[in-house]
């Protein structure tokens, strides 16, 4: 029973995915969706969730939405333009290297969010990470600085702050 309650956030997520993927809300879809989502929730709760209380906090979702808006409309656009310019300009101005970028978020999900955000913006790719010292090794197409804290300022400060708010 405890597990069932714990799995509610996951079940809701799963149900949403099911309905969106099916694209219809007839009785059949809803019934099967509920069954499937409960099953998925029960099976995966212990693997996916660390702290179910966090998952049912609406404030975190608002931060997530704010973050994604900012991320998609500002960081992504800017970095896309930058890399496309480099790819298309006749004389490629490349200045690549792997730099240390420290991060501050504590949870696994926050770490993953920051890393994925860094990788998803063209121009920076997380090559490796050091969990103990909390350092990402980022391949940067245009190394402006080799100083870790300055690099964090340039690459991942925004992601890191939001990640702390969303997941910590």
């Amino acid at each position: 029973m405890n597990r069932l309650i714990k799995s509610i956030p996951i079940s809701i997520l799963s149900f949403t995915v099911y309905i969106v993927f099916t694209g219809s809300i007839k009785l059949y879809d809803i019934v099967t969706g509920i069954i499937v989502s409960i099953a998925v929730g029960l099976i995966t709760t212990n693997i996916v969730l660390e702290n179910p209380k966090k998952a049912s906090d609406p404030k975190r979702f608002l931060w997530l939405i704010a973050y994604s808006l900012k991320y998609f409309f500002i960081s992504e656009v800017l970095s896309h333009i930058d890399v496309i310019k480099r790819a298309l300009s006749p004389k490629m101005s490349l200045n690549p290297g792997i730099v240390r970028v420290p991060y501050e978020t504590n949870s696994d999900y926050g770490e993953a969010l920051v890393a994925c955000s860094i990788t998803n913006t063209p121009g920076t790719v997380v090559v490796d990470l050091d969990k103990e010292n909390k350092i990402f090794y980022v391949h940067w197409i245009d190394v402006k600085t080799t100083e870790p804290s300055l690099a964090r300022e340039k690459i991942s400060k925004m992601f890191d702050e939001y990640a702390k708010r969303i997941f910590d």
């Binding site: 219809s24 290297g97 994925c116 998803n120 063209p122 050091d130």
Partner: protein
Amino acid sequence: MYVNETVVYIGEILVAIGVFCDLAASIGMLRFPNFYVRLHAATVGTIGGAFVPLIGIALIALGAEWLGTYRFFLAGASIITAIIIIILAPVGSHVLARATHKARLVKVEPKVVDHLEEDIKKKEGDKNA
């Protein structure tokens, strides 16, 4: 009034952006000198070239009444595909880059700096000492 049209036009703009990113990414793929730099082109290809147009397609499908009732299926599946891509693509690149670096398959050349290499060497030195 012109809800359908508006939605479709927005979707078309997104798809057009996607195609442009796609072309740029493929040219970058060809021109960039080594694997690590190509990773960035690939990111352009997946986010700009796949995620954005998929959202656009979902919008087009919502506005495209001639597709019948299954257009919601199209829209929903496109959105799920887009979500899957944005979740999984960075991990793919990251894992590939990490494996390449670990197995020393590609030299990080040209480079300004390689902190990872330095740290690995330092660790090995600690172990040996």
